[in-house]
Amino acid sequence: MKAILSILKKEFLHLRRDPRLFPVIFISPILQLVLLGYAANLDVKNIPSVICDMDRSAAGRALIDDFVNSGYFSIEARVERMDEIDRFLDHGDAVMAFVIPRGFGDRRAAGREASVMIIADGSESQSATIGVNYATMIAARAAQSIVLESFERVRGLGVRPVLVGSEVRVWYNPELKSRNFMVPGVLGLILMIMTTVLASLGVVRERETGTMEQLIVTPIRPYQLIVGKLLPFVVIGLVDATFVITVARGWFGVPIRGSVPLLYALCLAFMLNTLGIGLFISTISRTQQQAMLTSLFFIMPQILLSGFVFPIENMPKFFQVVTHVIPIRYFFIIIRGIMLKGAGWPELWDKTAALLVLGTVILTLSVARFQKKLD
């Protein structure tokens, strides 16, 4: 016990003595959160578009008005010829273009099928996909109302056109504010990056300076050394989490509908994993540089495969299976659950169990590797 306390005290002294470390550990998470919390805007509105009306008929203009009034598109220009569209799309000044071909109005009047062209810049595939979806939806709705109109005109058909409507309810985040999604995500990411990196460096630094040799020659047991080294990072992680949660609540107005103590407890369960990984990295690295690059190797896949941005169900089966051993995958669900959905133990016990099991395995592996030997 005394040994652990000695190591703890020493670690805190180290932290205090490095003037640069302090601001990096405690201030940067807040900065990151403020920056990134605002960055994502997932409601894609005002997609810059170009209109090319080669028909100039009333029917054509009516359709164009539908696009314009939808609010999804912002009209950058109206051009006369199709080749003028190139310029806008090439330079990235517009993502979509709507073309009404000549003869559109005449064909409509004659009751024959007419066509409208929707062009999208696929190199911005996200905006393009969404834009195309909106546009086809608008076109479909316009088509629908035309059908309705014609039904009105031709009475006595005895058929009433049917329109199944949908009442859309958005739960947990009624205005679909993207910050409510981003902020919990950034919390998880910052926690993971911070604790993994610090833990991976903790042991390697001593090995590089030679003080590790001095330590392992004493009667101190491996577990005491590990606990002493990792405990400060747990504290740092919790403090960081507190800062982030406070900013989330106070600045961004992200709610915390669930139990705060539970949130902290689960942060701990998560850190069991990240610290374990960090410790593992530090047992397989000989220099700080190696440790750092290796921790990158563990961190980057976790970010991309965690389900934060790229939905897991769209990944190939193999990768879906792999994500089961990515701790932050569960943590994201947990954070969103507690903060936005008011979820509690009954809903989250299985994710928690996953975190605990994973964490125990990782830590055990790392401790096993951590011999009190130099070779």
């Binding site: 409507g165 958005v170 739960w171 690059l293 896949p301 790229f310 169900e313």
Partner: protein, 388 residues
């Protein structure tokens, strides 16, 4: 102001090369890890929002309502994960994120339909996972619309009035990325992200390591001008990362069919500018920190999340608040991405992105100049301290 004696750069370069070569693991990292990550993510990731897990509460239970449920079940946009009896069960499943949307069909659905009234279904989406929220609602609306049309037309057919009205159709053309395969869109962003992180962190050690080991003092008392030190350290990393970037491009072409449509030389130019920017950032960090630990933390914190979120990789810069857009000016990947997409996917010339190139060049020069200034100040302090 001393001139830049090129003679000094040589020895620094050679030493740096030798050190890099000896640390095999780091070398492997710099060259192969970007390629490895690209391959992995290229296969794993896409932007499609499909297979949204859905729960269905069919309070009607008629053949008609089952028909509607079927429409949701057969589309690839939704995967029906649960068929529930009561709406009360939805919350629990959504909190667990087993489902992200729920369709509730009211008990009077088929009745209303038969009577020619327009029924309404409830569509619940998980707002917490806003990434797929609006899209899911959009899909649902589209499905319902086409269902409505089909029902109407069937009724018309039954009366023998089929084929009556077909208003118009929409022809969709997608340029540059015809199947809207997000792999093509993803790859430039992935490349920029992976390279940026690796570049900056690799060089973040270069100077600070010498400070920690004490060899920096040796350099400070030598006549080596700081500019030569920086360039000497920069060049080996630049060459290695250039090799790495080419490996990534090659793999992107072979495995994912992402070919370079535009001019290769332009691509090379932009790559070099980008690489130097990333390396410059790393060197700047290295020159202002005193321990490797802090250097690494800062480089990680200024590259991973900012590049991922602010470069336009996932979230379009255009949609960000003005203040944040200003911040993106300090993210080199942002410029590189525009140019990369233009060259690789659109095949356009410099005219389309000359401003990006300018910004990148400015960033590179700025970071390097600042590094030189930092080193010069540090060296001077040490010399005056010693003189006292």
């Amino acid at each position: 102001m001393k001139a830049l004696p090129l003679a000094f750069i040589g020895p620094v370069m050679r030493k740096e090369f030798r050190q890099i070569r000896r640390d095999a693991r780091s070398l492997v990292f710099m060259i192969f890890i970007p390629a490895f990550l690209l391959v992995m993510f290229g296969f794993a990731l896409n932007f499609d929002v499909k297979h949204i897990p859905l729960a269905v509460v069919d309070q009607d239970g008629s053949r008609t309502s089952r028909g509607l449920v079927d429409k949701f079940g057969t589309t690839e946009y939704f995967d029906i994960k649960a068929v529930l009896d009561r709406t009360g069960e939805i919350d629990g499943l959504m909190a667990r994120e087993r489902i992200r949307a729920a369709l509730v069909i009211p008990p009077t659905f088929s009745e209303d339909l038969l009577a020619g009234r327009s029924p309404s279904v409830q569509f619940i989406i998980d707002g917490a996972n806003a990434m797929s929220g609006t899209t899911a609602a959009g899909y649902a609306a589209a499905i319902l619309q086409s269902y409505s049309q089909r029902v109407t037309l069937e009724a018309l057919d039954r009366r023998g009035l089929g084929g009556a009205v077909r208003p118009f159709r929409a022809d969709v053309r997608v340029w540059y990325n015809p199947e809207l395969r997000s792999a093509r869109f993803l790859l430039p962003g992935l490349m920029a992200f992976i390279l940026m992180v690796i570049l900056t962190t690799s060089t973040a050690f270069s100077i600070v390591r010498e400070k920690e080991r004490g060899t920096m003092e040796q350099i400070n008392v030598s006549p080596l001008p700081p500019a030569a030190l920086i360039i000497g350290k920069l060049v080996p990393y630049a060459l290695i990362s250039l090799a790495s970037a080419h490996l990534v491009l090659a793999l992107g072409w072979v495995l994912f069919g992402v070919a370079v449509k535009g001019s290769y030389l332009l691509l090379l130019l932009m790559m070099v500018l980008f690489l130097v920017s990333g390396l410059g950032q790393g060197i700047l960090i290295s020159s202002i920190t005193r321990t490797q630990q802090v250097a690494f933390l800062i480089s990680v914190l200024t590259t991973i999340l900012p590049t991922f979120i602010l470069s336009g990789f996932v979230f379009p810069v255009r949609n960000m608040p003005a203040v944040i857009q200003l911040v993106t000016y300090f993210v080199p990947a942002r410029y590189f991405l525009v140019a990369l997409r233009a060259i690789i996917l659109k095949g356009v010339g410099l005219a389309a992105f000359w401003d990006q190139a300018l910004f990148l060049a400015a960033f590179a020069v700025l970071t390097l100049a600042l590094s030189v200034a930092m080193l010069r100040r540090g060296g001077r302090d040490r010399r005056t301290r010693r003189a006292r």
